[in-house]
């Protein structure tokens, strides 16, 4: 044979390393093949619980990312104008000294003058803690534009949400509804799961204006009108209530459906839970015909019917409020069909199919378990209907509400954490709301009393000053955005520029391409970044940025700290914030360096940002980062993830203490973290750790693991205790408006509506207080929750109501005035529309160019409306800052051949006028070349976001 020389066993490389992918937040396990110190191939790790060997396109293209010509190679100090991309390469010592100087000055003056914002950062446990040590409240991560409104909606409802908090029960589900999912963080697990579902013959329904890849393989694709998913969910709820296809047993067992809500129209207590003297919520027991504490057992609670309490007050169970509201004809399929663009028959059929899948499947697993109330059940009753939702709902301004609507629907079906339904992943569900509140006061040593991001439980947790004005630069946790669980990335640059509410000296950013994609408004963001004040100084004096590549943001930074790629550093996202667990076990995503930073370029001098941050902290002498003698506490990030203790161990009392001692899992412990760190051993095939970190046989977390796949109902109590405690509960809060965070292990999901109720109460309390003491609190008067006639579920309803601002995204942009008028009509703003005169930019610059701009515009003008005395911007701004993508000769100095010049992914891709593939900004956005003053109908057609075949109908009433 002539082809005998074919070698079928060539060496794929001389070394293979197991680590974790960082091309997105899904955190799949990868095996990296190296040959002669270079990447040869990246494959999925078959032993990894997340991806089980499969790998998405980005995952294997990590090679391209690693060897990208845009990689940075040296710290850079800006020498030219901001945005021009002219830098001088400097040594790390100089860079760190400069950063230390800027940050040190800030910390001396006022730590809040540092805004530390990170993007797709997977080490938020470190960055948030660092910000706390620094003492600034101005820290946010991966917020705003991603799916955090949905996360907040879920965390305030169920103690977790879709996204990274839970997953459909791929093995038992018979009906899956995907709400606005295209790719998702759970990318590979979803795809693996879809394969399973299709193989089993389960029905998959995709609700999405666009038919994405998942929609393509779904049995049914429902091309909903963008932003109207909440309404559709309500119509489904309406149908289910009408047909009595709901799981009342589940509701009384696991939610507060039976809790009594006071009815006292006009009274201060209307809509609050009826409580006894000890503050325990009450329910009505039909056997004993009396009110009893609702969280007890052995009850036979009613879920409808008005009762009179011993003290004479009238109350109804919370469920009745839900039922009354959603049985209302305005939520009927016929009423919403037009607004959703889904015909009523389809909605009815969906409801019928969902109910049939949930209740007629008779899925029961013979697994005995004990619930959170200590009651033992001999089997698990399945509700094989699962939902998954993502940015399709959360990328709308009503995402928080829509998310709550979906969760309500799931609860009515009993389809949360039941076999076949949506299942939480450890450490979720967390207490509702999660126990950690945002840090707001500084301790003696200058550190914040808690990490800057947290969950607001009541007005006392808000970061507002005596006038009710925001205290954070992004206005998170203010009256305008009280539940901004992750901070508000997209408001940072504008507010820092405007000095609203105060001047920021240094913006420190990490892995956040803010000039480009987290600002909702790139053009103006670039102007804000380059704007100067009257004295000729940049309005945002210092910008420090860490990126691994010369992204758009780099050109706008003063000091650039080049990061390594994800294959060259340690990383650990940790159970403290966004673990990669799956429903069957806790897991964590750790990376270790598999490549040397100088391997393919001896001159490349980059450092992992986390280690740089730790070093900066030590240079600044931040309390947690130095020893008593002032020496650095941690050598680097690897050292930190092994030795760091989040808080000194408290001695817990009683049962929990014994349990803790057994599990040794109260806090991140050095031993455990050290073990976590050595992922190589955990993941390496046949390594000593085996798959210890994952799935079965997890020795560190015995409470979490059952023999079978469905242990979770049995362990919620303990797990919630475990993880509830892991999250910090700040001690010694003053002026608490109600009892501090519960000391008891909070129950998961026992609080479907409590958060809403509490919120109503807190806000109302605030509003009432305001009438007495603080007449100046501006936003409260207009805040829906402060409306005294809002019944308990009013808020829930509002949360879930379809966007009150009509969604404009699929329309040609309209002139801002029109938008403003529309908004004014909705009565959302205390100021008359004429008040909103922009920030001094001329109309040309302010004209919304596209849907995203419009969204920004809406938000920005809302902020403006609240604060009429915004400083004016200078008029001499460049209309269009240099577009790096088009500029081949971008002068960022790098010792590289031309086509490797940093950052320009396609340097030759110049805008050649007339070239069919070249679209200039004004092609895309006429507003860039001046306001498009033609009437809407006469403007050139924009490419519609939706396929022509969707059921989309134009928004009515506009």
């Amino acid at each position: 044979m002539p082809h005998d020389h074919l070698d079928t066993s060539p060496s794929p490389g001389d070394r293979v390393e197991t680590t974790t992918c960082y091309m997105c937040a899904c955190r799949c396990g990868i095996k990296v093949w190296l040959r002669d110190g270079r990447l040869r191939y990246i494959q999925g790790n078959p032993d990894h619980p997340v991806n089980r060997g499969v790998l998405c396109a980005k995952g294997s293209a990590g090679i391209m990312q690693h060897y990208s010509p845009a990689r940075l190679s040296k710290p850079l100090l800006r020498v030219g104008e901001r945005g021009s991309g002219e830098f001088r390469e400097i040594e790390w010592d100089e860079a760190l000294a400069l950063a230390t100087k800027w940050l040190g000055d800030v910390r001396e003056r006022d730590p809040n003058e540092l805004a530390f914002f990170t993007g797709r950062d997977q080490s938020q446990a470190l960055t948030g803690w660092w910000a706390q040590q620094f003492g600034t409240v101005n820290y946010a991560a991966h917020g705003g534009f991603c799916s955090v409104n949905m996360a907040a909606g879920g965390l305030y409802t169920l103690g977790g949400s879709f996204w990274e908090f839970g997953e459909p029960d791929w093995d038992h589900s018979r009906y899956l509804v995907l709400w606005g999912v295209a790719e998702d963080h759970d990318s590979n697990p979803i795809k693996l799961g879809l394969g399973k579902l299709k193989g089993r013959g389960a029905k998959v329904v995709a609700i999405n204006p666009v038919r994405s890849g998942y929609g393509a393989i779904a049995d049914e694709w429902i091309g909903i009108r963008p932003g109207s998913d909440g309404l559709l969910a309500f119509a489904l709820i309406h149908e289910l209530l009408h047909a009595d296809r709901i799981d009342l047993d589940y509701l009384v067992r696991f939610t507060n459906a039976h809790w009594l809500v006071l009815r006292n129209p006009g009274g201060a207590d209307d809509g609050l839970f009826a409580r006894d003297e000890q503050g325990r919520a009450l329910c009505w027991d039909r056997e004993r015909a009396t009110a009893l504490p609702a969280e007890g057992t052995g009850l036979s609670p009613t879920v409808v019917g008005e009762v009179t309490l011993p003290d004479g007050r009238r109350a109804v169970p919370a469920f009745q409020l839900v039922a009354e509201r959603y049985l209302d004809p305005r939520y009927s399929p016929d009423a919403v069909a037009k607004r959703c663009g889904v015909d009523a028959d389809t909605i009815r059929r969906l409801a019928r199919e969902i109910a049939a899948a949930a209740f007629d499947s008779d899925l029961r697993l013979p697994i005995a378990w004990t619930d959170a109330h200590g009651q033992r059940h001999e089997e698990m009753i399945g509700r094989p209907v699962s939902f998954h939702a993502m940015r399709g709902i959360s990328a709308h301004s009503n995402g928080f509400h829509t998310c709550r609507a979906l969760h309500l629907l799931q609860l009515l079906l009993g389809a949360v954490d039941a076999p076949g339904s949506f299942r939480f992943q450890p450490p979720f569900p967390r207490p509702v709301p999660p126990a950690n509140r945002p840090g707001r006061t500084r301790r003696e040593d200058g550190t914040l009393d808690a990490a800057p991001l947290g969950f607001v439980h009541g007005p006392e947790d808000l970061l507002v000053d005596a006038d009710g004005q925001p205290q954070r630069i992004d206005h998170a946790y203010s009256w305008a955005y009280p539940l901004a669980a992750h901070g508000m990335m997209h408001t940072l640059i504008r507010n820092a520029w405007a000095g609203d509410p105060y001047k920021i000296d240094t913006v420190l950013m990490f892995m956040a391409n803010m000039s480009w994609n987290s600002a909702m408004n790139t053009r103006q963001t670039m102007q804000w970044l380059t704007d100067r004040d009257e004295a000729g100084e940049y309005r945002i004096p210092h910008i420090i940025y860490s990126d691994a590549y010369a992204s758009e943001m780099v050109a706008y930074a003063d000091l650039v700290l080049p990061d390594t790629t994800y294959l060259e550093r340690h990383d650990c996202i940790s159970l403290l914030d966004r673990p990669i667990s799956d429903a069957d076990g806790a897991a964590d995503g750790i990376r270790h360096p598999v490549l040397d930073t100088r391997a393919d370029d001896p001159e490349r001098d980059v450092r992992p940002f986390q280690s740089v941050l730790i070093e900066l902290g030590a240079r600044l002498g931040l309390p947690g980062l130095v020893n008593a003698d002032g020496s650095p506490r941690y050598a680097d990030f690897a050292d930190y993830i092994q030795r760091h203790e989040r808080a000194p161990r408290r001695r817990p009392a009683g049962r929990l203490a014994r349990q803790r001692q057994r599990t040794r899992q109260g806090r991140a412990q050095p031993g455990a973290a050290g073990a976590l760190h050595r992922q190589r051993q955990f993941l390496a095939p046949g390594g000593p750790g085996g798959r210890a970190l994952f799935q079965d046989g997890q020795p560190q977390l015995p409470g979490l693991v059952g023999r079978h796949g469905l242990h979770r109902q049995g362990r919620t109590d303990r797990a919630a205790a475990l993880f509830g405690d892991l999250a910090e509960v700040p001690a010694g809060r003053t002026g608490a408006w109600r009892a501090p965070a519960p000391r008891r292990a909070p129950r998961a999901r026992g609080h479907l509506l409590r958060s809403a109720a509490d919120l109503v109460r807190t806000l109302r309390g605030r509003a009432i207080g305001r009438q007495r003491r603080q007449p100046s609190v501006p936003a409260v008067g207009g805040h829906p929750a402060a409306d005294v006639h809002v019944p308990l579920l009013g808020l829930a309803e509002r949360l879930a109501a379809a966007d009150r601002h009509e969604e404009h995204a699929v329309r040609a942009p309209r002139h801002r005035c029109a938008v403003r008028r529309g908004r004014w009509r909705h009565g959302r703003h205390p100021q008359p529309p004429g008040h909103d005169d922009g920030a001094g930019e001329d109309q040309r610059q302010r004209a919304p160019g596209h849907g995203v701009d419009l969204e920004r515009d809406r938000q920005a003008s809302r902020r403006v409306a609240a604060r009429p005395r915004r400083p004016r911007g200078s008029r001499g701004l460049p209309a269009q800052p240099p577009d790096l993508r088009r500029d081949a000769g971008w002068p960022l100095r790098q010792r590289r051949p031309r086509d490797r010049a940093g950052g320009v992914v396609r340097p030759a891709h110049r805008a050649v006028a007339g070239h069919p593939r070249c679209r200039t900004l004004s092609d895309v956005c006429p507003a860039a070349g001046g306001p498009d003053r033609r009437p809407v109908g006469q403007r050139p057609d924009r490419r519609p976001m939706t396929s022509a075949r969707t059921h989309w109908t134009p928004p009515d009433g506009l």
């Binding site: 980005k58 394969g195 038919r211 009408h242 039922a323 009354e324 015909d343 028959d345 095939p685």
Partner: protein, 253 residues
């Protein structure tokens, strides 16, 4: 010789499930990355950062719209369709090759190009109806899917990894690899069960790879099948507040 073997001992090939393929391109990218350094490689790209980059891919994923869709879906079918060499039994790409660089292995039926012999005449790519062969102007030779011949027998890889890169990567597990000549193999059974199809069989190339057709969609029909969910007749919403139907419900906790 470029004569085709009369029969091959095995017929290794891919089975691609069009029912679950979401068109994610994971297979295409992993194929490219593996083969860039493997037997078929390098798969050099030209003008990578330029206006019109050009590169060799051994596997490309198309997206089509098919109307009407199979089943009762009122909307057309979106079909994602990965396309790579089908390792045809009657492969004209082999017989037209003037140099013998193209050949079909008698032992497993894999069709390969010997890069050391190929003169880059491109005739084989013209002879392939499926667009499976791509010529590299940089290397001056023809490239094609190797069925990962340098993985599937590779003793330096762990057992689980001895499968084509695209099959291993596919996140929906829509790709299967095996011996389609053996009626008892898992892939043959799958093909039999799901009615796997050859592409353009009328051309007579006798492709080995099979595509599993999309399952009929259960959309509920164009009319929406508008049957009402059953309501409780005794409780007329007009008369009583309908919530009172739950008044008599005995619940316990």
């Amino acid at each position: 010789m470029t004569d085709l073997p009369a029969t091959t001992r095995r017929k290794l090939g891919l089975v691609i499930d069009l029912d679950t393929c979401v068109g994610c391109h994971a297979c295409a990218v992993s194929c490219k990355e593996w083969n860039d350094g493997g037997f078929a490689g390098p798969l050099v790209d030209e003008d990578v950062h330029g206006v019109e980059p050009l590169g060799v891919w051994l596997n490309r994923v198309h997206s089509y719209e098919v109307s009407p869709a199979p089943g009762d879906s009122p909307t057309p079918l979106t079909l994602h369709f990965p396309r790579s060499c089908l390792h045809c039994d009657n492969a004209a790409c082999v017989t037209v090759c003037p140099t013998g660089a193209s050949y079909k292995r008698a032992e497993d039926g894999i069709v390969l190009v010997d890069a050391d012999k190929c003169i880059g005449c491109q005739l084989c790519s013209w002879a392939c109806p499926y667009g499976a062969r791509e010529y590299s102007t940089v290397d001056g030779v023809m490239k094609k899917c190797t069925l990962c011949v340098d993985r599937i027998y590779n003793e330096q890889l762990e057992e689980v990894d001895r499968q084509p890169a695209c099959v291993q990567a596919c996140p929906t597990r829509a790709r299967h690899f095996g011996d389609l000549g053996d009626p008892d193999s898992a892939v043959s059974q799958l093909v039999a069960r799901r009615g796997g199809q050859a592409l353009m069989p009328e051309l007579g190339y006798a492709p080995v790879n099979r595509y599993l057709p999309p399952r009929p969609r259960r959309g509920g029909g164009a009319s929406g099948g508008a049957a009402q969910p059953e309501r409780e007749a005794s409780l007329d919403a007009g008369q009583l507040p309908p919530v009172l139907r739950w008044l008599d419900r005995v619940l316990s906790r």
